[in-house]
């Protein structure tokens, strides 16, 4: 993909906004959940829905048990006169991918991407269990935590991840999240404190599991000179790609992330030493180790300064938030080159990697 750069338009993240990620957004319906993030991101760019070329969202009605909540949410955007709009039944990172592709068409210069999730309305473990193969796997009702624990054990006993690494990841993520004002689901802790916790789903301790959260996030993408007009330092997407692995969990090697490795190559991560910062969507601590290895990150890279999904795990939003968090750190000058990653499905089934840069190619 990176070799076809000359025919591609330069597209950048020019604004990011999110609601606080909270355990329970009890009083809000989908429109009320989405509006603060969408309105804030439009206000920051001075745009309104009529000046946005393409609008796309990521969400899943099963999380909140509200049919067509993705359509209702659009009532907070301002879709009159009618706008060009799309939706993916996936994390907002994949909505952003669609927006990036749409911007490559060349006839529009801006896109609004948003995502929302309110998992607190239902039993998320059971809901997500329903995405598994329906005849032989799902009837056992395996939940994401159970499958992740199986993966963690494979990684530990296979020698690709250590208990110490997991505790370090969990402690760093929760501590970073504690210092992130937009995250209300984590507390500062040390690796020793994590290691002292009783098991939740052995070998996963409570802090090895990202706390499920409700929330919404929004991003404005812009191309070329429009991006330069809207931001003093746009976070240019120099590459973006996603890959998927088999639906049948037993056929996959769960001790590595082949789809992340291929997506990272396709997105043009290139020299690992150039990646100063990474926002990785790892809802379980051992998965961060697998992702960092698959992308080839150096030990010196700053991983999940926001706290990541281990500090707050808003389903459908966490991936878009990784892109937004990495982009903000490009825009404010903390980094010149960053990786943002999103995942979907059990045990890192599907993965998306975006490379963000402070200077256009």
């Amino acid at each position: 993909m990176s070799t076809t750069g000359s025919t591609r338009r330069d597209v950048a993240v020019v604004a990011y906004s999110q609601t606080p990620f909270v355990p329970k957004a009890a009083d809000h319906n989908e429109v009320e959940l989405v509006m603060p993030a969408v309105h804030d991101v439009l206000e920051r760019t001075g745009l309104d829905s009529q000046r946005i070329g393409f609008t796309v969202s990521g969400s899943n009605d099963y999380l909140m048990g509200q049919p067509f909540s993705f359509v209702s949410a659009l009532d907070g955007v301002g879709a009159w006169p009618p706008i060009e709009e799309s939706h993916v039944e996936m994390d907002g990172a994949w909505a952003l991918y669609e927006a990036w592709v749409r911007l490559q068409h060349g006839d529009i210069d801006t896109a609004l991407v948003y995502a929302f999730g309110k998992s607190s309305s239902g039993d998320l473990g059971r809901v997500l269990s329903l995405q598994l193969e329906p005849y032989t796997t799902q009837p056992l009702w395996p939940e994401p935590d159970h499958l992740a624990a199986i993966q963690a054990r494979l990684c530990l006993e296979g020698g690709v991840v250590t208990h110490e690494q997991m505790a370090e990841v969990a402690a760093r993520s929760n501590t970073n999240g504690f210092h992130n004002d937009a995250v209300a689901t984590s507390t500062a802790m040390t690796a020793a404190e994590v290691a002292g916790q009783a098991m939740a789903f052995d070998p996963l301790r409570p802090s090895d599991i990202g706390p499920v959260a409700d929330g919404a996030a929004a991003i404005v993408l812009a191309a070329g000179d429009t991006a330069r007009d809207l931001s003093d330092r746009p976070a240019w997407i120099s590459g973006i790609a996603h890959r998927i692995e088999s639906h049948a969990i037993g056929t996959r090697d769960l001790t590595t992330s082949a789809s992340t490795r291929l997506a990272a190559q396709a997105a043009g991560v290139g020299d690992p030493a150039s990646i100063e910062l990474a926002e990785l969507y790892a809802p379980y601590s051992h998965q961060e180790v697998l992702l960092a290895e698959a992308i080839g990150l150096r030990a010196s890279a700053d991983i999940n300064p926001s706290g990541g999904a281990l500090a707050a795990h808003p389903l459908m939003v966490a991936g878009l938030a990784r892109i937004g968090e990495a982009a903000e750190r490009i825009t404010n000058g903390d980094a010149d080159r960053a990786v943002a990653h999103a995942t979907a499905g059990p045990c890192l089934q599907q993965n998306l990697v975006a490379v963000l840069e402070g200077t256009a190619r």
């Binding site: 319906n29 009320e32 509200q66 009532d75 907070g76 301002g78 009159w80 309305s121 239902g122 329906p134």
Partner: protein, 177 residues
């Protein structure tokens, strides 16, 4: 269904045996949710419990939404100002239901109408009764008839019935259809 059809298509070439018959697995799935109507719709529903109706006004276009959902769908902004509206209104459109179906609790033929309450700009659906279904018309003036038990949902209004006032002119509700 598709599998069964595909099997039927290949049946001509290969005589079906028991082993090739499509297996249908029945697995009931139950999910439970605590649905929350939202910060805007909840006060509306509490008012319904008191046999009153309130909407919310869009700060941009001024339209009053009943029921309120928290935003103006046209302007894409939050609605916050709570506005009491009347329990009388106008039929803006309707259909006559002639087909019985499972769970129906009203006798056919009956009228399902869009009712625009006085003071509101958005119509909502309800039953119009105490009038022959074929006499219902656009512009018919109606009032809410509350049921015996008031609950936080619009079924607390049993139905709407004619007020006997002269019909409203089309101009008075043309912007709400």
């Amino acid at each position: 269904m598709t599998d069964a059809t595909a099997n039927a298509d290949t049946a001509a070439a290969t005589p079906p045996t028991h082993e090739h018959e499509p297996l249908v697995v029945t697995r009931p799935i139950r999910l439970e949710f605590d649905y929350t109507p939202g910060a805007s719709t909840s006060p509306f529903l509490h008012k319904v419990e008191e046999r009153e109706i309130e909407g919310q006004r869009c700060p941009v276009c001024g339209k009053v939404y009943v029921p309120p959902r928290g935003s103006c769908a046209r302007c894409g902004v939050a609605t916050e100002e709570r506005v009491p509206v009347e329990t009388t209104g106008t039929v803006t459109s309707f259909c006559i239901v002639d087909i019985p179906f499972a769970g129906q609790h009203v006798e056919c033929p009956y009228v399902c109408a869009n009712v625009l309450l006085d003071g509101a700009d958005i119509a909502f659906q309800h039953l119009v009764q105490e009038i022959d279904a074929h006499d219902v018309r656009m512009g018919l003036r109606v009032e809410a008839v509350w049921g015996d038990t008031a609950m936080p949902n619009l079924a607390s209004i049993d139905h709407f019935r004619p007020t006997g006032e002269p019909d409203a002119s089309y101009d008075t509700f043309k912007d709400a259809i």
